[in-house]
């Protein structure tokens, strides 16, 4: 297979503007370009749609309000009233990931969230932030998170390591889930798109499949962004309330 035809070619980072600050490579890449587009689009979407401030919302305003209420409800149900402070963060996170996922579905664009380094940065930030939050809030009592309540003390030597491992694997599962979903979906789409071209007239079969796959991927793009937000709320809740 030639280099340009590899299904993984779409994930390649291309430097659009070479920038080097103090020996650190800060080049403006295709990934960075997509991130900037995402910021612009999310901001435009949420400000233009709310421009009317209408009592009876327009279609766009409804979508903006709906996304607001979806995340507000998720935070409220997941974390409770103490979660209000973290709502802007969870909302930004959701919108950023959602737009990255959706824009990545446009042919010839780039999927920021298909890179494990990006999703892991999010996950690590959340993991470290949540851990610090728990330690500041509860001090040493925070470690009771690793020993579920009502468990016989004899089981502690077994359970505590398991809980610690599960806690430490959170950022890995969180980041891998998103990046793997994005990467796998886009790769499959690319492979089937290749079949459509290769089979000529018979390409109609993989083309139909491609359409269905595309719908599925659109749903996954939304779902994974939402899962990311829900899990963030879950981890926040653990740190604030220490297992209820």
């Amino acid at each position: 297979m030639a280099a340009g035809e590899s299904p993984l070619e779409q994930f390649a980072i291309k430097r659009l503007v070479e920038i080097n600050i103090g020996g650190v490579d800060a080049s403006f890449t295709n990934s960075a370009a997509m991130m900037v587009i995402v910021v612009v689009l999310v901001t435009l979407f949420l400000t233009l749609s709310m421009r009317g401030n209408a009592m009876v919302p327009t279609r766009w305003q409804s979508i903006a309000e709906l996304s607001y209420e979806l995340i507000a409800k998720t935070v409220r149900d997941g974390v409770g009233l103490e979660g209000r402070k973290y709502f802007p963060f969870v909302f930004t996170l959701f919108m950023f990931i959602l737009f990255c996922n959706l824009l990545g579905l446009i042919p010839y664009s780039f999927t920021v969230t298909s890179h494990i380094v990006v999703t892991f940065a999010f996950a690590a930030f959340i993991f470290i932030g949540v851990t610090i939050l728990g330690l500041v809030r509860h001090g040493a009592k925070f470690f009771s998170l690793f020993l579920p309540e009502g468990v016989p003390i004899a089981l502690a030597p077994l359970l505590v390591p398991i809980e610690i491992i599960s806690y430490l694997s959170r950022p890995i599962s969180l980041s891998v889930r998103l990046a793997a979903n994005m990467m796998a979906g886009h790769t499959i789409i690319k492979v089937f798109a290749g079949f459509v071209v290769a089979l000529g007239l018979f390409g109609i079969a993989p083309f139909v499949f491609l359409i269905l796959l595309y719908a599925l991927e659109t749903m996954i793009a939304f779902l994974q962004a939402y899962v990311f937000a829900v899990l963030t709320c879950l981890y926040l809740n653990d740190s604030i309330h220490l297992h209820h």
Binding site: L8, E9, F11, A12, I13, R15, I19, V24, D25, A26, S27, F28, T29, S31, A32, M35, V36, V38, V39, V42, T43, L46, T47, M50, N53, A54, M55, P57, Q61, A64, E65, Y68, E69, F87, P88, F89, F91, T92, M95, F96, V112, S114, H115, I116, V117, V118, A121, A179, M183
Partner: protein
């Protein structure tokens, strides 16, 4: 695999930080407060409208109650007036009837008296005529004058018998 190009990590992370922080600031400072404001105002408006509606309903219920009370009062008043009027008319009629009865009685008494007087007069005349007739008959048939007081007694006893 492009995801494993470690050289590409630094630019991605740097731009991720820049863009995400920018978006966070834009969201938390501008976009989210505006949406929250609209939602809150709508909630306020809704609860206000609901409150107003329930206040209006209470008012309407009160007005209906007042109307019903007024109606009942008017009805009882009308009833009272009707009763009073009826009583008054009845009393008036009674009074008139009594007056008429009294007048009638007086008139009857007066007439009766007159008739009585006429009868007495006639009666006394009949006696005189009878006595005179008897005297005249006595003079004609017997040729003697019959004593008037004896005739008078005879006439009286005859009249008593016939009466």
């Amino acid at each position: 695999m492009p995801q494993m190009e470690f050289a590409d990590y630094a630019p991605q992370l740097i731009w991720l930080a820049i863009t995400f922080i920018t978006l966070y600031v834009l969201m938390s400072r501008i976009a989210l407060p505006r949406i929250a404001d609209v939602l809150e105002q709508r909630q306020l408006r809704l609860s206000n409208d609901l409150e107003q509606a329930s206040a209006l309903r209470d008012e309407a219920t009160k007005a209906l109650e007042a109307y019903e009370a007024t109606m009942a009062e008017a009805r009882s008043q009308a009833h009272a007036i009707a009763m009073e009027t009826r009583d008054k008319i009845a009393a008036e009629a009674e009074k008139r009837r009594a007056a008429f009865d009294a007048e009638l009685e007086a008139q009857t008494a007066k007439e009766e008296e007159r008739i009585q007087k006429a009868i007495a007069e006639v009666e006394s005349n009949v006696r005189d005529v009878a006595i005179a007739t008897a005297q005249a008959a006595g003079a004609k048939l017997l040729g003697e004058d019959l004593p008037a007081d004896a005739l008078g007694r005879a006439v009286d006893s005859q009249m008593e018998q016939r009466a």
